[in-house]
Structure formats: C-alpha cells, structure tokens
Amino acid sequence: MSEAKRQGTSVIILTFLFALLLSVIPLPSWLVFVRPEWVPLVLIYWCLALPTRVNVGVGWSVGLVVDVLEGNLLGQHALAYAVIAFVTVKLHKQIRVYPLWQQALSILVLIALCQLLLAWVRGIIGQAPDSWAYWVSSFISAILWPWVFLLLRDIRRKFRVS
C-alpha cells in the first residue's frame, strides 16, 4: 500500500511539472492569450480524483511555484489556486458525477474565478489586465477539459495512483 502511494506521488508531481513546463513555454505573441491554464486544470483534476491527497495545501504550494516561475507578486497564484482547490474539494462529489460537457462548464466557472482573483490582485497593485482577451484562456481551458480529464484518468489508472 505504502509502495503504491509513493509511486502515485511521483506521478502527481510529474503531471504538475509538465503543466508548469507548458505554462511557460514560449508561444507566438498572438497566441499568448489563448494559452490554457494548464496548472489549474491539472490541480482541479487531482482535487476531483483524490480530494484527500490533493487539496488546498497542494494548491497553495503549486501557486507559490507558479509565482516564482513567472516572476509575479509572491502569493497571487497561491491564493487563487488555494481557493479553487477548496471549491473543487467541496464540490467534488457533485462534479464527479456530471457528464463531461457539464464538468467542462464547472471548470469554466472555476478557472474564471481563479482569473478573477488574479485580476483583483493585479488591480490592487495597479497592473489590471486591460483587454478582454485576458478571459479567453478560461474558455479555452474549459474546452480542453474533456481531453485533459481523459488523459489524466488514463494516467491515474495506468500507474494506479490512489
């Protein structure tokens, strides 16, 4: 049991690392706003699948890592990710039984919430996002959710993460 658990941890860490890589990989400038929010997608998946293992604390630490990675104010992503992790863990029993497209709608709301929190923090320090393109990525993330979900579920089953 403990063996399986340890193996699972490394898989979770690897998926987060991969999401972090994707979230800073350079894109052409017209694509920048279309970049999905990879890290929250992965975070939400693990919160849904293993709410006892991945929850607010993990959200907070991953958020801190993202802040350092992107050179932002330390804690803005940590706050946003902790909040969405909290909401997801609260609602995981409902969201789990939804069909995929309905799950995608909840993901849209969650990621928009995350972006709203980030926009507030930026607004307070005087760097409020000035274009509507800022919100596009939450739609893109929601559209991508079914694939992310299926992929991560397969990974979870293959490596028996529990």
Partner: protein
C-alpha cells in the same frame, strides 16, 4: 502578498524557490538552446567565412568610431573637471542571454541567465545594442528577472537630446509605446526627437538612447500634452542584453560634495 509588494521580506524565499524552479526554466529553454547550438555547429564554411568578413569590416568601422569617441570622452572629462562637475568614467558591462520563456503576458518581464553569482544586483540597468532595455528586479544566484521599460509599472527618467528637456517615460504595457508624463503643452518637443536616459533616478546611466518621440498632441483643455515615444531597444527581438555596472558611483558623489572646497586646488593642475 502585501509583504512581498511593500517590504521585500520574502526575497530570500523567492530566491531559494527560484533555484528549485531552475530545472523547469532550463527544460523549457532546452529546445531553443539546442536549436541555436545546432545552428552554430552545422553552419557551412562559406557562411562562416562570409560572416567573418562582415564582422571584420564592422569591427574596423567600430574601432574607427571608437578612436573618435575616446578622444571625445577624454575631452569631455577634462571639460567636466574644469566645471567641477561629477565625472562619468566608462561603465562595466556583462553580456547576458535571455531564457526563451513566456512570463506573465500582462507585465513585461524577462528572465536572464546571470545572477548574484555574477555580481548582478537588484535595480541594475540592462541595455541592448540599440538602447536601454530594462532593469533587474529579482536576483537569484543563477538567474535574474528583469522588467522591460515598457512594463506598465516601470518609468525611466529621460531627457530630450535636442533641447535637454527632462521628462519621465512610463511604460504602457505595449511593446512599442512609452508615455511621456507631465510635458507642458508649450514644451519644445517634436516628433522624431531622441530621448536619452538622464541618469537622474540613479538607476540608469546617463546618455543612453531610450526612445524616439512618435506623437505629440498638445491638448489645451488639459494641463499636459499627450506625448508618446517608441523604445529604441528591440524589446521583443533581442536575445542578448548587456548588464551595466555604473562606474565610480560613490566616487562621483564624493566629488560632487567636495567640489566647492577643492575647486581652487584642481584648476592649476589642469592648466599645466
């Protein structure tokens, strides 16, 4: 968050975490550095020779220009000494390379591959081949984050090269635009004027080109005119930047404060 924003208590934590994060930066950058490496290694002999010729001629040209520059610099220093003004001696520079990494799209920041191990410190100016590029804001032992001059929260003191008019150029969040703040409607400033750094803030060295004025719209109903400028540095294209150490900074201040007392002593020496 407030602690980070206002007091910088968490800089140590940030720098420790950055080291942990470094592999991520490294891996994202890997395909690009590998591409550059392949490009460098698989170049044909003819191309190399052509490049060498071109660089040679460019070098000769620059050297010729340098000769003039050196004599001008010496003359300038002599004149400044006569005026008892603080003198500016050559700045020390270090070339750094950017990481191919997209940071937050709403603030203009880049990651460079030199850090406190190379004596880089916070608030250090960066230049590229064409002008002022930005300044470092977070420094870790192996890398540092720099803010470009177009970041919405950045401002740089400038001077119009033609008239000496001082102004502040604030970033707008768009890569090709700076706003000049608080320019009176009747100020002598025209489209095409070159703005150079004035050195007043103490961060940027004096006299490097910053931007070129692209739009001047006096608005009589407002206290200040709307003046926009385009940065000289190729903010979205440069892969290499120069980190600058301003030479003899403390020394300058000492001279400036002592200037009155020593004025008589220095003048005879200079006349010899």
């Amino acid at each position: 968050m407030t602690m980070d924003h206002r007091h910088h208590y968490l800089d140590g934590l940030r720098s420790a975490m950055s080291i942990l994060i470094y592999p991520v930066h490294y891996f994202v950058n890997l395909p690009f550095s590998a591409g550059t490496w392949m490009g460098d290694n698989m170049i044909s002999r003819e191309e190399l020779l052509a490049q060498k010729g071109e660089l040679n001629s460019q070098n000769t040209f620059l050297k010729a220009q340098m000769q003039k520059f050196i004599s001008l610099e010496i003359e300038n220093m002599r004149l400044r000494k006569l005026l008892d003004a603080s003198q500016q001696i050559g700045d020390k520079v270090l070339a750094a390379e950017l990481f191919a990494i997209d940071l937050d799209p709403f603030s203009h920041k880049v990651l460079i591959n030199k850090g406190s191990r190379h004596n880089v410190h916070e608030g250090q100016p960066l230049l590229d081949a064409d002008g002022v590029y930005g300044q470092t804001i977070y420094v870790t032992p192996i890398s540092s984050t720099a803010m470009l001059i177009t970041d919405p929260s950045h401002a740089i003191p400038v001077q119009v090269n033609r008239t000496g008019l001082r102004a502040i150029a604030a970033g707008t969040g768009s890569m090709d635009k700076l706003d000049l703040l608080h320019i009176p409607n009747n100020a002598d400033i025209r489209v095409g004027d070159v703005l150079v750094s004035s050195g007043l803030g103490g961060v940027f060295p004096v006299g490097y080109p910053v931007a070129e004025v692209t739009e001047v719209t006096p608005d009589p109903s407002q206290p200040y005119a709307v003046v926009k400028a385009k940065p000289k540095a190729q903010l979205d294209r440069s892969r290499e930047v120069l980190i600058v150490w301003q030479a003899e900074h403390e020394h300058d201040e000492a001279i400036a404060t002592d200037a009155k007392g020593h004025a008589r002593k220095q003048l005879p020496e200079l006349q010899q």
